[in-house]
């Protein structure tokens, strides 16, 4: 209780940071250990439980069906999932902000075209769209990042447009126009810096969603392909052995939880209500 009330260490920040730290430790700390061997197979250790010993080696988190050290697999998978999600969020962020600002600043047919495309995308469930696209375009890591990015720009686009609509009428933009500033000057110098904080917040919320989406696709076999591990794929692989060694599915689930919950708790601290308002009030879209 005292922790929750403390201003210096609010519970959500402490919890979120701890979860994120645990995730980062698994992702980037484990490869430094001597036991790190994500591809080394030892069939004698197949489906070993956590802390099992086989010969010289200790399998701290057990082993998968092919006898690969599970801690090492998790670490690699964590980095794969993180990398895909970060790049996908980056693609959607850049695309959404650019399209949204252009739509909101220029208005007219450009706006109608961009926002129409966005509405169209929103009308189709994202997972369905992703499954269909993955089926058509195949599944490689690059394609996965691109598809995840292309299907999630609308959130940024809508907010960026809404903010651009109000910013373009602000006097500092009008003053720049009378001084001879071009549209691109105004978009770069005035609109972009003023929407950036809100876009960063949206990105941090979207990030969790994209992690889960990536895991879902990989779980369905439409994302990362073996032998490369991914968290969703590992949950799927563990399904067959739930009765023998449930940890194989539980552990990647926990890693996903740590990443998503950790990033959400921490990012919530930076929403405008919690940060002291500036210009970056989030208008309703």
């Amino acid at each position: 209780m005292r922790l929750a009330r403390s201003r210096l260490f609010p519970l959500d920040i402490v919890l979120g940071s701890a979860l994120l730290a645990a995730f980062l430790l698994v992702a980037f700390g484990v490869p430094l250990l001597p036991i790190y061997e994500p591809y080394e197979q030892d069939l004698m250790a197949s489906l070993a439980e956590p802390f099992a010993r086989a010969g010289e080696k200790t399998y701290w988190l057990g082993a998968d069906a092919l006898g690969r050290d599970y801690l090492s697999r998790l670490s690699l998978a964590a980095r794969v999932s993180l990398g895909i999600s970060v790049v996908a969020v980056g693609i959607s962020l850049v695309m959404g902000v650019a399209l949204g600002l252009v739509a909101g600043f220029f208005r007219g047919p450009i706006e109608a075209a961009i926002m129409g495309l966005g509405d169209l995308q929103l009308a189709i469930p994202r997972v369905l769209l992703l499954i269909a696209s993955a089926a058509v375009f195949g599944s490689s890591i690059g394609m996965l990042m691109l598809l995840l990015g292309l299907t999630s720009w609308v959130t940024y686009g809508r907010l960026a447009r809404a903010m651009a609509l109000s910013l373009r009428e602000r006097e500092f933009v009008l003053a720049a126009l009378t001084q001879g500033a071009s549209s691109s000057w105004n978009i770069r110098r005035h609109l972009l810096p003023n929407v950036a904080p809100n876009m960063a917040i949206i990105a941090s919320f979207e990030f969790g969603q994209v992690v889960v989406l990536e895991a879902s696709l990989s779980y369905l076999g439409l994302g990362v392909q073996p032998p490369l591990p991914s968290l969703g794929l590992m949950i799927n692989e563990g399904q067959l052995y739930l009765e023998i060694n449930p940890w194989i599915s539980i552990l990647p689930g926990l890693v996903i939880f740590a990443l998503v919950a950790g990033s959400q708790f921490v990012s919530q601290r930076f929403t405008p209500e919690n940060r002291g308002a500036g210009l970056s009030r989030v208008p309703t879209v």
Binding site: E171, F172, L174, A176, T178, Q179, R189, G278
Partner: protein
């Protein structure tokens, strides 16, 4: 005789001459129907170099739209905006930009007119950067010119007071060495004591740099103090225009008379001797203005003739330079 028949010298064209300017907005009433709103209706006036025209009128009468149209922030429907004789509305692209940077603007709300993410230095430097003419010393010079110490140049707008922010906005407007400033309610958001300081600064700058001002305000006292000439707007039209002292001492239009009678007097004895003209009703819907004189629905002089046609802005007899749009400009002179 021959000498006098010739004009002594070709008079220089006014710095800014607005001719029959009309600005319209389309107001959508329903999906299939939209009405035209004439926010600025057939407005003409001139401003000489180094002079100030005060533009007064109640909220929604089109004062600010007129300013924005001159600045090309709002497109004009028809008419001309001549700057040194060149019609700005007929120009396009780079030539337009060359001219329009010579008319700059200061807005009402200094909070909204400065980008909250810029420092004072960046705000003032922006016009220079737009024209690839950035010079650190010039920014500091501009700051000193409006009475700000260059030592505060790295502060954000939120760290300044309202008056200081307006000084920053004025410095920005002066950065490109314009010939004219449009001051759109530039002191209305400030405290009275700060208003006086900013107005004195504006007068000082005008004297130093031969600036012309279009001073848009609803505050008659301030306009009387700063303007050489005054134009009174009602429902998109100028109803009276003339030298400030003439308009204030001998208002001809009933609307001007009622506006002036509403100005509080500092001297209670004077106040008691004056008649307060209280207008009836609200301004008419600008989407559906009355036929004939737009003011007749609220006018105490209104007669049946007022219904027939909108009175032109005509010179008042015996009073060149003072023009009024009223069919009966000489009634109630005793009031």
């Amino acid at each position: 005789m021959t000498l006098r028949a010739q004009p002594a010298a070709q008079p220089a064209p006014p710095l800014l001459a607005v001719e029959n300017l009309v600005t319209t907005f389309r107001v959508r009433r329903a999906a299939w129907r939209s009405d035209e709103l004439r926010a600025v209706n057939d407005v003409s006036f001139e401003i000489q170099r180094g002079r100030t025209l005060g533009l007064v009128g109640e909220s929604g009468c089109g004062k600010s739209t007129l300013g924005r149209t001159i600045l090309a922030l709002t497109p004009a429907a028809s008419g001309k905006v001549r700057f040194e004789g060149v019609d700005l509305l007929a120009l396009s692209g780079a030539r337009r930009r060359d001219y329009s940077r010579r008319i700059q603007v200061v807005f009402q709300d200094p909070n909204a007119s400065l980008d909250p993410r810029f420092t004072a230095h960046d705000v003032i430097a922006e016009p220079l950067r737009i024209h690839d003419a950035y010079d650190h010393g010039r920014v500091e010079e501009l700051m000193r010119g409006v009475g700000l110490s260059p030592s505060v140049q790295d502060l954000k707008p939120a760290q300044f007071s309202g008056g200081q922010r307006q000084r920053i906005a004025i410095a920005r407007a002066l950065a490109l060495s314009p010939d004219m400033l449009i001051l759109d309610e530039a002191v209305s958001a400030l405290d009275v004591s700060i208003q006086a300081q900013v107005i004195n600064l504006l007068k000082e700058l005008q004297a130093r740099q031969t600036l012309s001002y279009l001073f848009i305000s609803h505050n008659l006292g301030v306009v009387r103090h700063i303007a050489d000439d005054v134009a009174v707007m009602y429902l998109g039209r100028i109803v009276e225009i003339g030298p400030t002292h003439r308009v204030f001492s001998q208002p001809r239009h009933p609307y001007t008379r009622s506006l002036l009678s509403a100005v509080p007097a500092a001297d209670p004895r004077r106040k008691a001797s004056r008649d307060r003209i209280v207008l009836q009703g609200d301004p008419p819907n600008p989407l559906n203005p009355p036929e004939g004189c737009a003011f007749r629905t609220r006018c105490y002089r209104a007669r049946p003739e007022c219904r027939s046609a909108s009175p032109p802005l005509a010179a008042a007899p015996f009073d060149a330079g003072h023009r009024v749009a009223c069919l009966f400009p000489h009634e109630d002179q005793s009031r």
